[in-house]
Amino acid sequence: MARFVVVRLLAGAATMWAVSVLLFFGINLLPGDPAAAALGSSATPAQLAQYRIEFGLNRPITVRYADWLGGVLHGDLGRSFPSGTPVTELVGPRIGYTALLALLTLLVLVPLGVSLGVLSGTREGGRTDRVTSMVTLILAATPEFVIAAALMLLLAVWIPIFPRVSLIDTGSPVGGQLRVFVLPALTLVAAGAAQTCRMIRACVIDVLEQPYIAMARLKGVPERQVIWRHALPNALGPTLQVLAINLGWLFGGVVVVEAVFEFPGVGRALTQAVAERDVAVVQSLALIVTGVFVVGSVVADIAASVLNPRLRRHL
């Protein structure tokens, strides 16, 4: 067990390192000049040169990579290219808002997606299953911004219950402003729960087809007990891994949803930085986001192996 945990942690760390290389060199070796992008087309060659010296862009790329990675490991995410503001200062409060949005979403999404998935997986082919499968197929196929636009039309324009844009007053506590979180969270729940439900359903069906389930049934174990004692505990491990995979998709949704509702979070900071070609902000934010995803999948794998010792042999 301890060996599995250590190996999985090391593999996660190696993935993160490879991701950092890929992100940094991917973004910096592409044919785009951050100095020209930051200063605009009217900049003179002298200004461009001055800017490159100021931001250290004239140094070899490997040195810049080492410098960036060293900074990230010490909590320094670099400076925004156009303005020179430290990235941590720029995104600090935004991380809190996005984390709260993600937390609220997951609090609804996980129980809803898992219970619907189990419900429909244990009744494969029945009416509940067919209705759930059809609805989740449609929801999972619909882009987040479409769901967001539909919810906005419905619950902010035609029946104005919730605010159309999620403006957060930074002066007062967030707890009193939870109304602005409702529509963004609802969009993410709709898209994410559908996806989760479909994958969990597949896990449950997969487990129910195992020989030991047939054995339990033939032995005369009541169906309720077959499902709760034999099937579901074994479906729990894959379920955790499914949830971890969906975390990565959830972030894509977060970026889009934050744009729709003008929500002041990490996703919007990332979009704005891409529009401004602010390479420093983009690479740091992309690394943080991917880091959350990688940590999530490492935790899920370890938890799954705790639940199912047989998994420890596969690596």
């Binding site: 973004i27 197929l137 619909t142 911004f145 479409v146 990565g248 972030f251 889009v256 999948s297």
Partner: protein, 293 residues
């Protein structure tokens, strides 16, 4: 995805035709195909029948539907109907070419690795795992930040996102086939690798690949329109549905059609593809393909 029925199915054209018929005879498959056809017609014929130029201002901004502008005007006073009719072609062209590119790279790579399982396989899996640990939209955003926007950049970014996913599926599917006796026999009688790939592997994995291709095109459409919705797509005057939604969102209260119509078209496209591919894979898994064997 279970592959065994596909492996047994005869890859003759007759089998293919009967599979298509079996799918289209089911209500879900027929509805999906119809939805897909509707969007394809709008995207392909649209530019030919659009009443106005996409740049011409035909009335006051955000005007309600009238005789001159059947779906009203957009945020700058341009005809919504004409822009809708012109907005699908780029979307489909970029998504399909990106997916084709991803398949060219991912499928060749996957099949090559499955036949020559060696150090290359281990390295490939490692590379693919790292690529898959990056959330798809993050890859798109990073590439656009580095290279600037444009349809070619977006198509390449989509291909980078999809290729490792194609690799995984094709590798898994062709490994299953490569373990079969007839592949061993072909290799033993000295068939070239190209011939084995074409006559034995491809012939047996094309149905699951087709289903996957449909899903990849849809997810490329969604990613492309998400990126242009975020304002990171091709420069403004050329319309596409994602961009129209984001432009006209400000006027959603006064003139919803500039948002509703593109929203519905994108939703119909992706739901239609999913209904169709879902029917396809279910039909294959049930082995309900009649007459092919």
């Amino acid at each position: 995805m279970t592959l065994s029925p596909a492996v047994e199915a005869s890859p003759s054209p007759k089998g293919a035709r009967s599979l298509v018929w079996t799918v289209l005879r089911q209500p879900q498959g027929a509805v999906g195909a119809l939805m897909l056809a509707l969007v394809a017609v709008v995207a392909l014929i649209g530019p030919l029948v659009a009443p106005h130029d996409i740049r011409t201002v035909v009335g006051i901004p955000l005007a309600h539907p009238s005789h001159a502008a059947r779906l009203g005007t957009d945020v700058l006073g341009r005809d919504v109907l004409s822009r809708v009719l012109n907005g699908g072609l780029t979307l489909l062209a970029v998504a399909i070419s990106a997916t084709l590119l991803a398949y060219l790279v991912g499928a060749c790579w996957g099949m090559a690795v499955s036949l020559r399982s060696s150090a290359l396989d281990v390295v490939s899996i490692g590379v693919v795992d790292v690529l898959l640990s990056l959330p798809p939209l993050v890859i798109g955003l990073v590439l656009l930040a580095g290279a600037g926007s444009g349809n070619v950049t977006i198509a390449l970014a989509l291909a980078v996102i999809q290729a490792p996913r194609v690799f995984r599926i094709v590798r898994a599917a062709s490994r299953e086939v490569a373990a079969q006796d007839f592949v061993e026999a072909a290799t033993a009688r000295g068939d070239s690798m190209w011939s084995v790939v074409r006559r034995d592997i491809l012939a047996n994995i094309w149905t699951p690949m087709l289903t996957d291709f449909g899903l990849r095109v849809t997810s490329s459409v969604i990613l492309f329109s998400s990126l242009s919705f975020l304002g990171l797509g091709a420069p403004p005057p050329s319309p596409d549905w994602g961009q129209m939604i984001s432009e006209n969102q400000i006027g959603i209260v006064t003139q919803p059609w500039g948002v509703v119509v593109p929203v519905v078209l994108i939703a119909v496209l992706s739901v239609g593809t999913n209904l169709l591919t879902d029917t396809f894979s279910r039909t294959m898994n049930n082995g309900a393909v009649g007459g092919g064997r």
